[in-house]
């Protein structure tokens, strides 16, 4: 797999040669889109994709379902920031509450700076150097998405916003197509099983494209990979819109697990799109945690197009006052003997709102399928709100379906029981909440699990009247 050797000079030069560029807030014009493409030195087909995305965006109204997007001020958003430029902000300018949270969950300062977009010098390459050598020997590609367009044009052209998430999919995918920047490209060759989770967490430049980043993973036949993206620490985003896109191509017999924890600052509208195309006997696994954002609309989806394909989706959403987490999962069973499970857990605290929204559809020819959805909502406080909107569309009668939904409140008797053993009321509530999300948390890599637990505990502080 010599084709996939990484030539550092291309990467470095690509960064250094770019002209200083920063768009004006609200500017979203054909010139801007052309400029982005030019700055990135993109091939013509990518520019065309971008321009088509912009055209569709201009023609398409905002979605009229789900949480209100009234407060999303599209004129205040900066649609393109040249990587490298946003580093002008300094550590001291970061909001105190975000710094305090970093401290409380024990993230080292160097990492804190990298996460907050301040410390451009934090060299994660050191951490990953040895692992990367291993992967490269096996032909694994783990690259910045911008760079991948240059280095692997054939693969990118075939798989980027084509069959999985087409640019016409919905309003914010159109926008994403027009202005996407940064993100991650992964290719796992046939039969290669990557045993250590690949993480974008420490990757340099990943943070720079945090607003409209694109993740494209291609797992070739019989391969396996676990990819971990995002970061459980709150990510400060001066802009208020996150419209990323994740595409997983799970080829025959391959298995991809995608884990992510998203904790955008609370002024953010997180309108993210994640989807997998799963071929014969392939497996897609989604593990998602959503803590931050003011409004989230996120429904990781799997399209099962080959016989025997499978999708498992696990999610946690947490909404504190001022937050609306509209999350869930979608599965399309387009081939016979395909299987899916969805487990969604949500916690609403005080006036926080969570909505489970899911669709499972089973095509006419897709006989012998099974699907099960379990959504559990936990309400903390009398004002907490939870909605459950599961939709099932089944076009044949040879399927096994199960759906279960529970809404629970933390009861006085449970709290009393734990307090009688010496736990304070707050600790009792935290313990019950940590138990509630445990089935999902235990599927996350350890450091994420620990951080997620700590973060939710932090969010629960002060929840006792």
């Amino acid at each position: 797999m010599n084709d996939f050797q990484i030539d550092r000079s291309i990467y470095d030069d690509a960064n250094e040669d770019r002209s200083v560029f920063k768009s004006n807030p609200g500017e979203l014009s054909e010139e801007l889109v052309r400029e982005i493409s030019r700055v990135k030195n993109e091939p013509e087909w990518m520019l065309e994709k971008r321009l088509k995305g912009l055209e569709l965006w201009n023609q398409t109204p905002l979605p009229n379902w789900g949480p209100s997007l009234e407060k999303l001020d599209l004129d205040a958003i900066q649609y393109f920031i040249r990587p490298g430029l946003e580093e002008t902000s300094s550590w001291d300018e970061l909001p105190e509450d975000i710094k305090a949270t970093y401290d409380k969950i024990g993230i080292p300062e160097a990492e804190q700076k990298a996460l907050s977009g301040v410390g451009a010098q934090y060299d994660s390459e050191v951490v990953y150097h040895k692992l990367k050598e291993e992967w490269e020997k096996q032909g694994v590609v783990f690259e910045n998405m911008d760079v991948a367009v240059q280095k692997y044009p054939d693969l990118v052209k075939k798989y980027f916003m084509s069959t999985c998430v087409p640019i016409s999919d919905h309003k914010f995918v159109m926008l994403h197509a027009a202005v996407w920047s940064g993100g991650t490209f992964i290719y796992i060759p046939k039969g290669v099983k990557v045993t250590v989770p690949l993480q974008a967490y420490f990757r340099m430049n990943a943070k720079n494209g945090g607003q409209f980043e694109h993740t494209l993973i291609i797992a070739d036949e019989g391969s396996e990979v676990h990819y971990v993206e995002g970061c459980s620490a709150p990510q400060f985003n001066s802009s208020s819109l996150h419209a990323g896109c994740v595409e997983l191509h799970v080829l025959e017999g391959a298995k991809v697990r995608y884990s992510s924890v998203e904790n955008w600052s609370k002024n953010t509208f997180n309108l993210n799109t994640k989807r997998a195309i799963v071929h014969k006997n392939g497996v897609a696994e989604w593990v998602n945690g959503n803590l931050g954002s003011g409004v989230t609309m996120l429904y990781p989806s799997s399209v099962l197009i080959g016989e025997g394909a499978r999708s498992d989706s696990l999610g946690i959403a947490f909404a504190a006052p001022g937050q609306h987490q509209d999350t869930g999962s979608k599965v399309v069973h387009a081939a016979p003997n395909t299987h899916s499970t969805i487990v969604a857990k949500s916690i609403s605290r005080d006036s926080g709102i969570t909505t489970y929204r899911g669709i499972v559809s089973i095509a006419k020819n897709a006989t012998g399928c099974s699907t099960s959805t379990v959504c559990d909502a936990l309400l903390v406080g009398d004002e907490a709100v939870s909605h459950t909107i599961p939709v099932m569309k089944v076009y044949n009668n040879k399927v096994t379906m199960a759906h279960e939904a529970t809404v629970g409140k933390i009861g006085e008797d449970e709290i009393f029981y734990l307090m009688s053993r010496g736990l304070s009321e707050e600790d009792a509530i935290k313990l019950i909440v940590s138990g509630f999300i445990e089935p999902v948390v235990k599927e996350l890599p350890l450091e994420y699990a620990v951080e997620l637990n700590k973060l939710i505990a932090l969010e629960m502080e002060g929840s006792v009247g």
Binding site: M419, R421, I432, S434
Partner: protein, 246 residues
Amino acid sequence: MKLEIKDLVVQVEGKDILKGVSLTIEKGQVHVLMGPNGSGKSTLANTLMGHPAYEVVSGSLLLDGEDITDLDPDKRARLGLFLSFQYPKEIEGVTLANFLRTAYNSLHEDNPKSMVEFHKYLKEQMALLHIDSAFSRRYLNKGFSGGEKKRAEILQMKVLDPKYMVLDETDSGLDVDALRVVSEGINTMRGPEKGLLLITHYQRILDYVTPDVISILKDGEIVKTGDASLARKIEEQGFDKVISGE
């Protein structure tokens, strides 16, 4: 040193359930509280531990002379009070071991045990009660049988090692083997520094645990107090006859 209940009047949803109960649990004693259904036994247990739904209208609770009437349940636990629940709650996703370590360290803030130390300690305590060590990895009371729940309560009591223990119908719903294990556990907690209030509906457990004092509660009042022979009388003659035979 003692746990004192003084002239306690308790309401639940505006209704008087306890109508002036006075009872003293001395250290070194096993005090048994018997009484027919609906007499207020569980109300007394819950009020002792500080359940928010039980309103103390008048009277007081003293633990070694300290007034605990208005304390939150966790503060009472820190003073050394323990309640073995008649219906222990199920807590999903929290293992018995994790819960017990959290509780233990809440009660021993000055001298907490590390995970390794605690697991060793827990294993020893479980062995004493003939409980399989895999039990501690199960979620707290989740899917436990009635007998398992009661055994888990006794295990918690042993691990947390309180000064005063209130056992609310810990013997009900147990088969003979489980009753023996639970009773052995209770007996290991007896001692000059420990006071136990054993609330029961049946005389059966008294075959295994010898009481020092027996009180009978009826309609929210203590109607009789005596020694171990009182239990046998109740078994033979029934509550009504023993109470009215006064």
